[in-house]
């Protein structure tokens, strides 16, 4: 670590007023940024509570007539709410598969050298790079030929293409932060590898597992093209259901907005559960 010694900054302490203002600046910046994030979301919430005629009729800052019709329609129409259930099902399945296969691999990358390790690591990343449009047709045919078309497993497997590399990548960073002496001590104490991994190692990197789970959930939840291509009715995701609101009578903005608001909730719950893990931070020990 190089330390830059600047005597001036120590020799000339700021006035109390200056320090007070400087302490406020980050908060102000953060609040402005969050305001910028929330305004479009407020617009979505506002639209979801308005009838369509009011949405396109005139500019209003808040709904003049509050209606819950849009939400009632989603919760009573099975073609709508099964969309949510399907999405949650395959997203959950994908998160579990991604974590299960990524954990041992990330351990191997963080602890060992083996033939082609660096190239393998980069190859995993390349799977995020393929532009989807043309790849959709072979994906469709591949999953149909193995009999998985229109199942939740198909979407979960297809999403591992970009989630597993990401999971390996993030977990490897966390695992490198755990000193190797930890492993060696455990072996000396007579732990077998699987027992060591589950009993000692996993709790140490629980922060990493939480963060990874959130990212897997998030990327699988918002992905639309693959999910729509690999399903027709039984496993149709909510994002695909939403495209139906473009009907002959024009856009049903209110219904679309209500569905949009509801898509935020599962993810918000996930991040609520992993919030302490993110706050604890990545221990990216490679640095």
């Amino acid at each position: 670590m190089t330390r830059n010694q600047d005597p001036r900054s120590a020799a000339a302490p700021d006035s109390t007023l200056g320090t007070a203002i400087r302490a406020r600046v980050p908060n102000a910046v953060l609040m402005l940024y969050i305001l910028f994030l929330l305004l479009p979301l407020y617009w979505l919430l506002k639209m979801s509570l308005q009838p369509n005629s009011e949405i396109v009729g005139a500019f209003t800052l808040y709904p003049a007539t509050v209606t819950f019709d849009n939400y009632i329609k989603i919760f009573t129409d099975s073609s709508w709410y099964t969309g949510y259930l399907n999405s949650i099902y395959y997203v959950g399945l994908n998160t579990i598969i991604s974590l299960l296969v990524a954990l041992p691999a990330a351990y191997a990358f963080s602890r060992y050298r083996f033939m082609g390790d660096k190239h393998l690591f980069f190859w995993l990343l390349t799977n995020r790079m393929a532009p989807p449009a043309v790849f959709l047709l072979p994906f469709f045919q591949l999953y149909q030929s193995v009999g998985l078309f229109d199942t939740h497993l198909a979407v979960a497997l297809a999403h591992t293409l970009f989630n597993v590399p990401l999971a390996v990548w993030i977990l490897e960073g966390f695992m490198s932060g755990v000193p190797k002496e930890m492993d060696e001590t455990a072996y000396l104490d007579g732990y077998s590898w699987p027992r060591f991994f589950v009993k000692i190692f996993l709790p140490l990197i629980s922060a990493g597992v939480g963060v990874t789970a959130f990212f897997c959930f998030m990327f699988s939840w918002v992905e639309l093209l693959l999910a729509r291509t690999l399903t027709s009715t039984d496993a149709k995701p909510i994002a695909a259901t939403m495209t139906r609101t473009v009907s002959a009578s024009g856009m049903d903005w209110g219904l679309l907005a209500a569905a949009g608001v509801l898509t935020l909730i599962p993810g918000a719950l996930v991040i609520w559960f992993v919030r302490n893990h993110i706050a604890k931070g990545f221990a990216l020990g490679r640095v």
Binding site: M115, G116, K118, H119, P138, Q141, S145
Partner: protein
């Protein structure tokens, strides 16, 4: 497998890629590679040089296709082969 739309040239191409991977694995077993600094600005292993060489060869072909009208691609392949050999030896 009919939907995969195989043609003879692409089949040869894909087999060549897999064969190359297998060859590199065998070579690695027999003569393990060492990290070294050559013409390239970064330290590379044999595999790195091969990857960089193949990727740039891909772009040599693309530039050839973009810049010439009907000239045969064989020339681009010849340039790429030379470039790849240089890179593997001195890169």
């Amino acid at each position: 497998m009919g939907w995969m739309a195989w043609t003879l040239p692409t089949a040869i191409f894909c087999s060549a890629v897999f064969a190359m991977l297998a060859l590199m694995a065998v070579l690695e077993k027999v003569y393990p590679t060492v990290l070294r600094k050559g013409l390239l600005p970064i330290e590379t292993t044999r595999g790195d040089r091969l990857f960089i060489g193949l990727l740039t060869s891909g772009f040599i072909h693309l530039f050839w296709l973009a810049a010439t009208e009907e000239l045969s691609l064989v020339w681009a392949s010849a340039i790429s082969a030379l470039w790849l050999a240089t890179l593997l030896r001195w890169g």
